[in-house]
Each structure stands twice: as C-alpha cells, then as structure tokens.
Symmetry: none
Subunit: 418 residues, 2 copies
C-alpha cells in the first residue's frame, strides 16, 4: 500500500499555519504499514487541487485530501474530488440533523455552504465528525482509495483515530501486523551509530532499522511486518541482540515516550534512593530535568546551584581556599561538590557538575570541558572528565544528559549488586 | 516570482517530525512578495528528490530544498541537486575550518561524510550556518534559483533570517530595502494580540504585521519596504507606537535573537544587582534559564532547589512548622522562600517559585496554581498568584518566564527610581 497525502490550504502556502495534520496522519499510516513516499501542499484552488490528485494517482493507490471541507466559499476539496471522479454529492442524514440542530441553537439560518458540510461523494463510507460539523469520507474507485478529512486538527485528529484507522484496519483484514521497537542511546552520535550498524542497515528488508536524532541522543527504530504480533516480535529479537552486542554500552531504554530522566526516576524508585545535586555550569538544568518526571518528589527533595566558588563553599560547607587552589573546574572540586551536596541534603547519592560552558575558554580551560562527580553514602566520591562539543547551550544540554546517564549506570550497578 | 518548497526527510513521511520549516520559510517568502503555489515532501531518496526538483522546475522559478545536508549517508540533497544541475561540489574554506575545530574539540576523527557538510555546488553563493556545521547555498541556473537549506529548525531558521532573506532582498534589486522590527511580548496569547490589533492587521499594506508563537510568548514582526533604511524606519515608528499603546504592558524587548533571560541579565548588569532564587516546582529551570546567557556569572552566584518543605526549611533557614501550617503553595511560603534565599546567598534580589506543576491537583490545590515571590534588600517581600494552563511542562515553562518577567519589571522600576 502506497499512500499520498495532499494538504489543502492557502494558509499553509503563506506559512500562517503549519501542516501538523500531515505528520499526524503519516505516523498513523506508517504504524499500519502503509508507506507514503510523497506529500503535497496546495492552496484553496480547485484546478491545482485536481492536478495534485491526478499526480498522486500516477504514483499512489491511497490518496488522502486533508482540509477544505468547511463552510466557507474557499472550501472546495469535496466538490473537486467528486467532480474529478465523476460522482455526485449526496446528503448524510445524521450529519444534516446535527447541522440543523446547531443552526437552531445559534439562531442562524443555514446556507448552501453550510449544507455542503453534511454531504459526501456518492458511494463513499462516511467518517463521522465527533467534534465539528463537516463529515469525512472514504471512497473506493478503480482500485484506488480516496479519503477526505477536515482541516482543523481538533476535528482531524479524532476522526483519524476513531473513524479512519479502525476502517483501514478492517480493510487490511487478513493482513499483516507491523511491530516497532524503539531503542534509545546516549553518548554516541548518529553518524557513529550508522557506521557501527552499516552492514545491518545495508541488509535490511524485514525488519527495517532507522536512526533518529533527538536532542543530544539517538534513537533506533526496528520495525517488523508479520502475520502476528508474536511472529513480528520473533523477527525483532535477534536484530535487537545484534544491535545490543555492538551498542549496548550506550543503550539506556526503550520507547518513543521515554527519556534519560524517566529511566533515572524509575531506577531511583526501584532502589529507593534519594538523589541531590550541586550544579555549576548547568545551573539547575539537571534538577529541572529530573523534576520533569511526575512522582520524582519521593526521591528528590532539593539541591544546589553553586555557580561561584563562594557559593560552592558556603552552600555545601566546603573549604573555599582548597577549591580556589584546585580550580573550580577540577576533579577535586567535582568530588567535593558531590560530597558536600550529599551531606547537606541528607541524600543517598549526589551528582555534581563543574565545567566551562563557553562560548570561549575560561581561566585557560577550553569550552566544553566538564567534570561530573558522583558521591554515594559509604563510598568514595568519583568524577569523570568530559569534552562536549557545540555551543554554550549544547555543552550544558549534553552535560545534563551525561549526568543523568552517569546516575542511571550507578543505579543499575547498585541494582545488580543488590 | 513563484517558489516551490521541497522538504526532504523520511522522518516527515513517517510522521515522526512535522514540517515546521515549510511554514517558516513560506511566511518569510510571502513577506518578500514571493508566492508559493505548491509544496512537496519527499523521503531521503535521491531518485524521488530529483523527480520532485524536476516537477518543481515545471511550475516554479525558485526551488527551495529543505533538509538533507547533514553528515549521515541518507543526507543526499546537496549531491542530488549538484548532479541534477551538472555541477561539482566544492569546499567552503571557512566551513571546513569550523568542521575541523569542532572535530578537534570533540577529540574525534572527521569522516568523508562530515566533510560534505562544508561543501556546496560550484558557482553557488554560500549561506553560512551560524549554529551548525552544514552550509546552505543559493545557485542561479538558466533563469531559475535553487536554494539548499539545512533541516534542523535551530539551524534552518537563523540561516533563513540572517543569510537567505537579505540575499533575496538584494536580488530583488531596485534599491528597495526591507526593514523588520520584532517586538516580544509575554503574558498575552497570540489570539488576544490578533484581536487587539485587528484593525491594524486588516489595514496592513506597508508596513505589514505578522505574529509568531514562541514557547509561552508571542512575537510581532513589523516590516516596511522603502527606498532607504531611514524611510523604512519612518514607516515603522508610528506603527510601533500604535502597537505599544495597546500592548505595552506585555512588551519586554526587541529582536529575534532575544529572550526574557537576556533582557534580565542586561538589566542586572545595568543596575549592578546580584540575583538568587529558591525554586520548588521549577526545580532549577529558572536559574538554568538565567545561566543560558553568557556573562551572567557576574550577577548570579548561585541559588537553591527546594522541592520539599524539609529542604525549604533547611537550605533557606526557615521555620518548617510555619511552612507546614501555611502550606507549601501559599503566599507566606513564597515570600519566606524569597527572603531566605536573599539572606543565604547574600544577594540583592531573590525570586521564589512554589506551586503545583501537575498533572492533577496536589493537596487539593489545582495544577497550574503558582506563587512567585520577590524579595529585595531593604524592602518587604511580595508574592503574586498565577494560574497557568497546560501540561506539567507548560506550567513549569510558563512559571519560569513569569519569574523572569517579574524580575525584569522590578529591575525596570528600580531603574526609573534610580
């Protein structure tokens, strides 16, 4: 199955609105195993819309027209498609009843344009609109499927999820299922992932592999098609084992809706570990990332932003002259910060950050140089040196994720020992 | 002038990312009077990209290829366009120097794919990338203009604004210049801005007005065309005065590359005021936002993340029983946190945050309820109650910006008195 999406609306050509519907529908289709190789955007112009439909017919067997079903004179998608296919528009009785009730409630007369919202191309299956007034439609003709969907996302998204997807699933019938597994990695770039997996990527047919760049991390999506979910999973497992054998040291979790912070908070809860932090260059961003996760309050009570040596000494009860001697960006200071925070916050583990965010060097230390310290109750503090590339924002963002990764690996090691 | 935008990326066809670049560029082009009648999206596939370019050539005289300039093997836009036009790829020396410096900072070897990012089709004008490594390009051939732009929005948007638009303006010739002025607002939604300025927006010809939604704020771009910069500015001034008369209470600064945090840090420096913070629900995000700005270290030495009542009392030397009685989310606690932070950090002004980020209520207080406190040396502490809409992330994000806005207005008032 090969789909083409045509989004209709002059507002998109003028950049007044973003085509979010295209991404939303494409994602649903790809999960159904329906590929799309092309998308188009055209304005509210019947000639250009018809040309777009004709172009789509030359290369796709499912054609989705997004938008242009409303009551204004420039909403022409339904009429254009019906004319192109040589079918009449007919009335959907429930939708027309809804329109009439709406007009009555608003004390408005219905216009001919209003009535058009309740009409659909003869022979089509109506997609009901739970939120608005314009119905959608799915029409089969000469081996092709044509789908009309409304433009406003708050009408579009529920219609796709609740009316269109169930219909497509049913029509796939006997069909195959598609199962995806997303692996998340930190500490390795996309180009290095691609290099490490080059032979697997080159050989891919079923399952397939695809990398995605996320902020300072990389995800890998493995997708298998098979007769059953079980059969698809059986295809994914050996591929994942091959990937993990090469990249396991960078792997931290599964799923599109996941993050290093979420994995850390789950591990804190499993191990019943209370965490704190003392942050210099990241200045609170690590603690803010932890607090993105609901439920963190059981394992995170607070911490410190110690930007200057003076506040490092004062807030964490450290010897300022020792810090001044070692330098703010040093192994000594990273360890001392973690130990001080651990004690002051009465926590089980503390993470510390000290480094040069940039732009430019500081005290002769180049931008991107970051020490991350970790102190845990009853263990000697440790610290690791990192060199992060990029802008000030990138150095700080990478440092936060490296701190989360450091903490996650510590918690996982604790788990194994326990 | 008739433009066609081709966004390249399999991620868009899979619905994993939304084509925001298309809307961003279309808006800029429409401000320049350049129409676009069609947009396309294609995957990372050289044959389909070349077909898309050929199709665009049949109906447009400016062809923009968005994305596919990165270092991975599926980044093929540059190579595909160069092949299609029969030109070689040549090296941009400054971009190559930047690549080498980046690789050195990261302690990594450069690959051939990395090098490609610094190359461009022979004969093109290079568009420098202020944020990332891949250069863009503008090439004229047989009466058509071909433009290559990078995919990541944080690279794409500055390249469009700072490199592409000035070049297009220059090539529009006839000595007309276009001058834009960006006004930034916090505390008002886009729809309210549009309502307040409805008559100005309806009447716009030259200058024009356009609103843009940024994270938890709105910007307004006024653009005038005239024979000289001075003449354009003379057109902008009265329009800005009309806007300020209506929306001045929400205005905080000028420019695309500006932020509440940057305005705050400039005001701290002007007034020589040292700031600190005590954060509960924002958990360090306010301090991290301040520290985004280079040079902040002169005016920000550190602060506190006091997520639990116990840490509020301990770190800020407050009476925990009084906090427990008043409740963590209360005017009393917000003021006490600001006063405690001010004293403990020996600062001139302190901001505090306490509230319910959600999802869902906490201790009977609904999500979005946030107290923001402010304490300054020699003045009684104040606190204001906010109700922020949206998700946990939105509530925390809005709280951070509201804290910055609160601090900015305080510093501006101090300035006036001074």
């Amino acid at each position: 199955m090969n789909a083409e999406l045509i989004a209709v609306g002059t507002e998109m050509l003028l950049g007044q609105i973003t085509n979010t519907n295209g991404a939303f529908l494409a994602k649903q289709l790809s999960e159904l195993g329906i590929d799309s190789l092309n998308q188009q955007v055209v304005g509210d112009n019947p000639e250009r819309l018809e040309a777009a439909i004709a172009l789509a017919e030359s290369r796709a067997d499912m054609i989705f027209v997004l938008g242009g079903l409303g009551p204004t004179p420039d909403d022409l998608s339904k009429q254009t498609l019906a004319k192109h296919l040589g079918v009449a528009l007919v009335e959907d009785a429930p939708a027309m009843a809804k329109l009439k009730a709406y007009a009555k409630q608003q004390h408005h007369e219905m216009t001919a344009n209003n009535r058009l919202q309740a009409m659909y191309p003869a022979g089509a299956t109506v997609l009901t609109n739970a939120v608005g007034l314009a119905v959608g439609a799915v029409l089969e003709q000469q081996g092709r499927t044509y789908v009309l969907l409304p433009g406003p996302p708050r009408e579009f998204e529920p219609m796709v999820l609740n009316a269109l997807v169930p219909l497509l699933l049913k029509s796939q019938g006997e069909g195959e299922v598609m199962v995806s597994r997303v692996l998340r990695f930190f500490g390795i770039g996309e180009s290095q992932v691609v290099t490490e997996l080059a032979d697997l990527i080159a050989a891919q047919t079923n399952p397939t592999l695809a990398t995605y760049i996320k902020p300072y991390e990389v995800t890998l999506r493995l997708t298998a098609k098979a007769k059953s979910e079980q059969a698809a999973t059986a295809l994914l497992d050996p591929l994942e084992r091959a990937v993990q054998a090469r990249l396991g040291e960078f792997f931290y979790g599964y799923g599109d809706n996941n993050s290093l912070a979420a994995e850390v908070v789950r591990a804190l809860a499993r191990e019943k570990v209370a965490v704190t932090a003392a942050e210099s260059l990241t200045a609170g961003a690590f603690q803010a990332a932890l607090a993105d996760i609901p439920g963190v309050s059981a394992w995170f009570k607070g911490g410190f932003v110690t930007y200057a040596n003076r506040t490092k000494a004062k807030f964490l009860q450290l010897d300022q002259s020792a810090i001044d001697r070692a330098g703010a960006v040093s192994e000594y200071t990273a360890k001392a910060m973690a130990e001080g925070a651990l004690k002051q916050a009465s926590a089980d583990v503390a993470i510390s950050f000290t480094g040069v965010a940039g732009p430019g060097p500081s005290d002769g230390i180049e931008a991107g140089t970051v020490w991350i310290g970790l102190a845990a109750k009853g263990q000697p503090a440790v610290a690791a040196l990192h060199h992060f590339p990029g802008s000030r924002a990138a150095v700080r963002g990478r440092a936060v994720k490296a701190g989360l990764f450091t903490l996650l690996r510590f918690l996982q090691a604790t788990e194994k020992q326990g």
